[in-house]
């Protein structure tokens, strides 16, 4: 059996890659995609804990299902915002959305 820590390390790495993408790329659609990567990282950690934990078998998996549904909702709204933005400005640069600057 592969130790739990391996899975956690994988989750941490995937999370960091996602975070890097969110911060580094300018295209709003890619930012949404990277958010999905981060959610996947969390899902891996949850499923791993669920598999290795001595208490409450399957609880983590239930969580993953809920995360999946919320992620679907988030993608739908995020992409809708992207399309609306494109229609409004004809550009997808996240930095364009700075109307709230002080």
């Amino acid at each position: 059996m592969t130790p739990l820590q391996y899975y956690l390390a994988l989750a941490a790495a995937l999370f960091a890659v996602g975070a890097w993408g969110v911060v580094a790329r300018r295209n709003i659609i890619l930012v949404v995609m990277c958010l999905e990567l981060m959610l996947n990282a969390v899902n891996i950690a949850l499923a791993a804990f669920s598999n290795y934990s001595a208490i409450g078998p399957g609880r983590g998996e239930v969580f993953v299902f809920i995360v999946l549904a919320v992620a679907a909702a988030e993608v739908a709204v995020g992409l809708a915002i992207g399309i609306a933005m494109y229609r409004l400005r004809e550009r997808l640069d996240v930095d364009e959305l700075d109307d709230l600057k002080g």
Binding site: A16, A19, L30, G58, V62, V77
Partner: protein, 166 residues
């Protein structure tokens, strides 16, 4: 899938991580999307190694199936009319890369150092048992999530709808 060997784990991990890094790096969005699909498929395999077959199926259906297609459509709908953006990367990207690496390291250390209460054998239950859990004990959160989805869909339609010309 008891006794899943460690070398095999490295291969699966590579299927997850390498496409992810590529996805962030590609200039062409279509390439990025394809890399993302590969990475998501890798996550599905990870789920299989964790005895979570139903999860793996759901991962394939929702992420690889639905979300990827949605993203591809979004990419095609928003083809840059005014030419490509000159800068693919944000100004702060040079600082973000080391920060991300350090984040990965620190997260790994923090997670790895935890003292976990190990189960003697894999705990993820069979599908029937999981469904019982989902529809008895967690029925309320499940229903709530369905409501969230409904609201999100309504909101997405409203946002993406073409505004009427006045």
């Amino acid at each position: 899938m008891n006794g899943f060997s460690t070398p095999l784990f490295y291969i699966v991990a590579a299927i997850v991580i390498i496409p992810a890094v590529l996805m962030v790096s590609f200039r062409n969005l279509i390439y990025s999307a394809v890399a993302m699909i590969v990475s998501f498929t890798g996550v599905a395999i990870v789920f299989i190694t964790l005895n979570a077959e139903l999860l793996a199926a759901a991962q394939l259906l929702i992420y690889v199936g639905a979300i990827s297609i949605l993203i591809l459509f979004a990419i095609m709908l928003t083809k840059q009319r005014s030419g490509e953006i000159q800068l693919f990367f944000h100004r702060q990207a040079w600082a973000a890369l080391p920060a991300a690496v350090i984040l990965a390291a620190v997260l790994g250390v923090v997670l790895g150092r935890g003292r976990y209460n190990y189960a003697p054998r894999p705990q993820n239950p069979a599908t029937a048992q999981l469904s019982r859990l989902l529809f008895n004990q967690y029925a309320l959160p499940f229903e709530l999530v369905s409501l969230v989805l409904l609201v999100a869909i309504a909101g997405a339609i409203l946002l993406a709808k073409r505004e009427k010309r006045r």
